[in-house]
Amino acid sequence: MTVSEAARPGGPTRTRELLQHRELRRLLGWLGGGVLLAVMTGPQGVIGQPTYAISHALRGGHLVTCLVVGVVMWGLSVGWSHGRESVHAGLAEPRAQLRTAWEQPAVRRGFYLVLLALAIFLPRLTGQFWQGVLVEQIGIYALLALGLNIVVGFAGLLDLGYVAFYAIGAYTTAYFTDTLPVHPPFTINPFLVIPFAVLAAMLAGLILGAPTLRLRGDYLAIVTLGFGEIITILAVNLDSITNGSRGAFGIPSFSIRLPSWLGGWHYEWGLSSLPYYYLLLGFTVTILVLFHLLENSRVGRAWVAIREDEVAAQACGIPPVKYKLMAFAIGASTSGFAGVLYASKISFINPSSFTVSASILILVLVIFGGMGSLFGSVVGAAVVQWFFKYVQKNNGAPIPLIHKKLPIDVQDLYMYVGALLILMMIFRPQGIVPSRRRAREISMAEHGIGGADAMAAPVGSPTP
């Protein structure tokens, strides 16, 4: 818009010149991106030879391929900026049709039923390895992402120590199943640990959130980052309580035993993945429904109001600190709940599973799927985690169609996680399955209306 305005006095030739200039700059940007891609997908470095990795990455066919990718991306971006209007216009009618169809409850219900059926039959189609992935990498992380979505998506806060609550849940499980050096007053099945773990995580969330949430929203990010680090330090150093870096072993799996007057029926979830998958599926669907109801409840509407304009919300009688604290505590307790499932499925835990990096991984799942979109969290968890696991499993094996190896090293996982966060924020902040409300808020905030997050300090707080 600014370009065409600036060019108007000069006539068509100047416009063309300016356009060329702009495209040239964009091309240079994409070529720079290509070089970065070459370095990212290049070989691993060697200690003592600081230039080894870079010089071997920027060489021969590898560099050319990456530059070609850059040029193709440039072409696509040019095409998109020219053809965006016509693509949108062309898609307008099918989109409208889709929307009217979607607004009929029967269609929506049918869609969800088909998805549920797919989810039920999915593990039957795969082998043992992917069944394990479905439980440990996708199912549990989908639960975690759903909880974090309450904090990041619904309340508009940033929690970077989310895994700490997951650790609290897992260690609570270890405690009540008597696998830690400290002994509990009674030993119970992981099923019965769930309320304790949820309470413990919620309490930790309230203790951490209460002083911080009175202040600017961004202080929460750094406090939770510190908290995540502290929990790991505590778990490593409190040898006599947490068994240090060795962690807890032999946490029993879920089991149900009905009393004898009900038939004495007994079921043990055991070590295989399939029973856990269905348990997780049940929990995930329940939580999805609960959170969906929450989203449309009084509480959910309060969160929307705080996100969109905190001052106005406060003027309408919504206490922002209370609702932010509520979101934070709900997120924390979901994380604690997932911790129980994790501890019981894996049967051993140690501090290395609960690093700050894991918190960032969960954040990526939420951002990729779409902030504020419950369905998006599950999709994000499924797509991102599947991709990382696929890379890890097929590392070094050629890709079927192009018969070349995937140039992605599993050790660099967090590099891609970081890059994905930056790219999503720059190009698609609303995620791949956006929440309609959240997408509109973001675009409104970009036009200077409202905040789309809860980063401002509440009125009357100690910090301006």
Binding site: G48, G217, E446
Partner: protein, 308 residues
């Protein structure tokens, strides 16, 4: 038992850490002043300075043992190269990651998420390119004892850190108080929109603020690397503590960041007389939460450009 054992030598170590925290904290506080953004990737700017200094000194020293004038040149050049690298990384970071968001007027949540993403991207990239094991900077000088204060030994390293940090802090303080650039930084911190109406080029000021923070952070990275090791995760904990120091002094307040850094270094080192050394990081974090609870504006208040 507390505070009695080795009090003075711990004080000297504390001052030493404190000066480094102050240098890093300035990067956080300056950027927070102009953008209201916690620049999580600042810890990676610090790390980049450490790596640059490491490579320079490795290449220069080789297998010899430097002494005399060469030692001085090594320390000066290492700090300078660290600072320049830090400044460059900070500049690129602002250009590539934050500017597109600023152009679009993106919500602050998006900035924070980008910042943490950039932090993870940069340290993982460094780990990939330069190896994942920590490396020591070669011996640059004989770290002899110079004199002692009440029985606490002062080594050459302590003097180098204190001297260079004080010099940089003084220059920065004058720069912000006296020069046109400093005036611009204060104006943008106070009210970016009005500043731009008054003819301040906001983009340039923000860029320069990032570079200044990067210079200090990069230099701190090298100075830190001399005594500790250089590795791709070296930035995380010092970064967290430096942010704590910035909040302790009052975020956005430049002298506050200096004071906060030194105070945090001292308290942390005195604190380890009462608890085990592995609890050191917990002390810093407890301080952060306590300040946020009882005096969220910090010791000196949030001031950069703000009235009152």
């Amino acid at each position: 038992m507390c505070f009695t054992h080795n009090f003075w030598s711990l004080t000297i170590d504390g001052l030493n850490n404190g000066f480094l925290y102050a240098l890093i904290a300035l990067g956080y506080t300056l950027v927070y002043g102009v953008l209201q953004l916690i620049n999580f990737a600042h810890s990676e700017v610090f790390m980049s300075g450490g790596f640059a200094g490491l490579f320079l000194t490795q290449w220069w020293v080789g297998s010899g043992t430097p002494g005399g004038a060469e030692s001085i040149a090594l320390v000066v050049c290492g700090t300078a190269v660290g600072a320049v690298t830090g400044g460059t990384v900070a500049f690129l970071l602002e250009r590539v990651a934050y500017r597109p968001l600023r152009r679009r007027n993106a919500p602050r949540l998006a900035f924070l998420i980008t910042a943490i993403g950039a932090s993870f991207f940069l340290f993982s990239l460094a780990g990939k390119l330069f190896g994942r094991d920590a490396q020591g900077i070669p011996t640059l000088y004989g770290n002899g004892k110079l004199f002692s204060v009440f029985g606490g030994d002062v080594h050459l390293y302590d003097v180098i850190v204190a001297g260079s940090a004080c010099a940089m802090l003084l220059v920065l303080d004058r720069l912000v108080a006296r020069t046109k650039l400093g005036q611009g930084i204060r104006a943008v911190a106070q009210d970016a929109e009005t500043a731009s109406l008054m003819g301040v080029n906001i983009d340039r000021i923000i860029s320069q603020t990032f570079v200044i923070g990067g210079l200090l952070g990069g230099a701190a990275g090298f100075l830190f690397g001399i005594a500790n090791n250089v590795g791709y995760t070296m930035g995380f904990v010092p970064g967290l503590k430096a942010f704590t120091a910035a909040v302790l002094g009052g975020i956005g307040n430049i002298r506050g960041a200096m004071l906060g850094g030194i105070a945090l270094g001292l308290v942390e080192n005195w604190g380890v007389t009462c608890v085990r050394n592995s609890w050191r990081d917990v002390i810093a974090f407890a301080i952060l939460v306590l300040i946020l609870m009882f005096r969220p504006t910090g010791l000196l208040g949030e001031r950069l450009g703000r009235s009152a």
